[in-house]
Symmetry: C2
Subunit: 288 residues, 2 copies
């Protein structure tokens, strides 16, 4: 996992080291993407590429693209009119380190860059597969995916909702990009089978939900210093969470159930799926 982290950090450094007209934008884009990030989504891309036994360098652009989308979403999320978080990964949020206008533009620029990178021709992949990858990530990031989930999150804030509605929200808000990351890695092998894709999708779906449950748990139990962002944000914002709906114990149980389901779906990949297994354990047991 550490190797994936280092690999994507190095790649992001390269891709962000561009000659662009605005120096402030350049600096702020680097600030948004560099330092302290866990790089779970790129690791899922690589883990999935490894599971289907294909070369990791084919997955490099996809790994960077999912992280760029994730980074943009964090920058926009932290804005005062959104979640209003002043701290991110233990540092001032981007709009604090720069300003709000820059934060909006950085998010917009990172999103464009993600698609630009994903559409760059890779000799080992067919254009057909690459086009499918662009579509997949765009759908996962867009109104039916991440952004749609975010909007639903706002709509539901302060409301009393049931577990099904909460799950629908999270499946799009955090689940869609996590699921897409796993799919993107698998698509780097042109001969990937429908059975493999479907097993990995099951893994991605379970891991995506488990990730969010763990996030809700950590928002209550972890300290701000470890979390790298203010604890108790969800309660302050009156957001419905797994913990507020199920309680802490049942939330732990549900997260572990999902982890087991995720691991079960990896059986057919034998040892090739070890990185994905490690990631599943990490997502559930992470301290922040």
């Amino acid at each position: 996992m550490l190797q994936c982290q280092q690999r994507v950090n190095k790649l992001l450094d390269t891709h962000l080291d561009q000659d662009i007209p605005s120096q402030t934008l350049r600096d702020a884009m680097i600030y948004a993407c560099v330092g302290g990030a866990k790089r779970i989504r790129p690791a899922l891309v690589y883990g999935s590429a490894q599971a289907v036994d294909t070369e990791l360098d084919r997955a490099d652009h996809a790994a960077c693209a999912v992280e760029l989308i994730h980074s943009y979403s964090l920058v926009h999320d932290d804005l005062p009119v959104m979640d209003d978080d002043d701290l991110r990964r233990g540092k001032p949020s981007l709009h604090k380190a720069f300003d709000e206008a820059t934060a909006i533009l950085v998010g917009d620029a990172l999103q464009s860059l993600a698609f630009q990178l994903l559409a760059k021709p890779i000799p080992a992949l067919s254009e057909e597969i690459q086009l499918r990858m662009v579509q997949l990530l765009a759908e996962a990031a867009g109104p039916k995916g991440m952004v749609g989930g975010q909007a639903l999150d706002f709509e539901l804030t302060g409301q009393s909702i049931d577990l099904d509605t909460l799950e629908t929200m999270h499946k799009s808000k955090t689940g869609a990009i996590i699921r897409a990351s796993v799919q993107l890695g698998a698509l780097c092998k042109p001969s990937v089978s429908a059975e493999q894709l479907s097993a990995l999708d099951k893994y991605g779906e379970c891991i995506g939900l488990a990730f969010q449950i763990q996030d809700d748990i950590l928002d209550v139990t972890a300290e701000t210093k470890i979390l790298g962002k203010p604890k108790g944000s969800d309660e302050r914002l009156e957001k419905p969470t797994y913990v507020s709906l199920l309680g802490l114990d049942a939330s732990h149980i549900r997260a572990n159930e999902l982890k087991e389901q995720a691991l079960d779906s990896l059986t057919l990949f034998l040892d090739n799926a070890n990185l994905l297994r490690e990631l599943a354990a990490h997502i559930i047991d992470r301290p922040h």
Copy 2:
């Protein structure tokens, strides 16, 4: 031109009429894209497709995609921390009609949707061409293009700059998407020649700059009611403009020079470029 407008309006209606998790987001996306827009960028896509003598339906996705990018940029631009405009196309800006968080999310969602649409397979086009189209639009929208120009615009506000710097800023801020629109239309003909692409790119470059000069002129001369947004915004925001640097008369002359250059570059397309000629005239002579 009216036909292009109607065509893209109808297509946008269809593409925005989606079943997405958040009803507010859906309504706000429609609000952002529907009604009163001039649809100049889609018309450039169609005009260019017509110039190279290819079927317009191949250009439909590209025409929608450029308009989605343009619409997202307007929604984000109007935000209080950006240009702080309460009026757009004669209606309340999106953050006034909804709220600021929704405006940020709508912009983000429209950008994703643009790339999702552009990556949708079109039987008449090769995947290679489509991938190139995605890259082209992503680059034009991103840190080296539109968003980069926006950021530079902020950096330069209140500063005294020369004409070269102003031109660099506008070439990315408004020019990049206009140029990309013209290129996208031409790429819909797989057998388009390098000579044709280069002539159209010259046209796009000139039209892009002329468009911005005319925008600067209108900000000073047109009435708020006709403009659909508050007049004098540039001066209020202390933005350097062609008018502030060159004066009104010289700005008019420069815009007309660029129009002539744009028209000259269309000679080889004979009558097929009539729509592009009409657009050039419209861009310079438009009242708003």
